[in-house]
Amino acid sequence: MKFAVVVFPGSNCDHDAYHAAKHVLGQDAEFVWHKDTSLAGADAVVLPGGFAHGDYLRTGAIARFSPVMQEVRRFAAAGGPVIGICNGFQVLLEAGLLPGAMLRNASLQFRCEHVHVRVEHLDTPFTAACRAGQVLKLPIAHGEGNYYAEPQVVEALERNRQVLFRYVSPAGQVTADANPNGSVNAIAGLCNQARNVVGLMPHPERACESVLGSADGLVIFESVVKAGSSLSL
């Protein structure tokens, strides 16, 4: 399987995603510059973390108009698996590929720490290899991860089983203390209705080897490899 890792000016987790795909998982991977108009024949697309275009105006607001995003849109519309991590999630929200928006963290603090998220649904390309209710220990590093959507949108997300990751305690319980940013319904990640576009604030690519403090993120990438082998992309 081939991963395309999109590089915006200001991306800073692109090499982590590339390393996870290429060196940890042993898959093919290629960087794609934000001005490119092709995804290099990839089977899966990663929008990495960082500060695309300096986060000027709003996180993801300028990146949304990068030329490569037209290809990402086309790829997503055709059912291709796309994952946006942290800033990549914010880009997907601004691009309208996922519903909702990010507000400043309720604490107003930039949070840089390990958190726990519970995998809520397994029927997506990025959770297919997880166990039901599996709790993953993953790092976060963001100032604007306070997920917001209108109440009726949040209800629809829950009804359609689009909330894929929720901030929980190490034991897997939703608690106020376990929510690092004030996200509504403790939402840490979600998917679109077609379930092939996924965004999450924590960084699975930074948690793929035990030397990094957790290897729990690897299952996200293993999932897409597993899903890819059963998809005819």
């Binding site: 519903p99 928006a101 400043r104 309720a106 604490s107 959507a149």
Partner: protein, 85 residues
């Protein structure tokens, strides 16, 4: 033509920055300030032949880029043509 665009979080959206600013003002003795909403302010110099045209350009810019309609709303003011700046 000078156009001013004010972007603020919708009333239904919690504004943690505005709340913090309000608390700071209370600490400073501004007890009469009941609430604060923080937003963004843009000045656009638009080459337009009428105030309406300038407003239209600014509304397009706000819809497409300056504001995120999920969480923000905006207000536009256009300087009357010929008015002293």
């Amino acid at each position: 033509m000078r156009v001013r665009v004010f972007v603020t979080l919708k009333p239904s959206v919690f504004d943690p920055q505005g709340t913090t600013v309000a608390e700071a003002l209370h600490t400073l003795g501004y007890g009469s300030v009941e609430s604060v909403r923080q937003g963004k302010y843009f000045e656009l110099d638009v080459n337009a032949s009428s105030a309406d045209q300038a407003r239209q350009v600014a509304a397009g810019a706000a819809d497409q880029l300056l504001a995120n309609p999920v969480i923000e709303s905006y207000r536009i003011e256009v300087d009357a043509p010929g008015a002293a700046s």
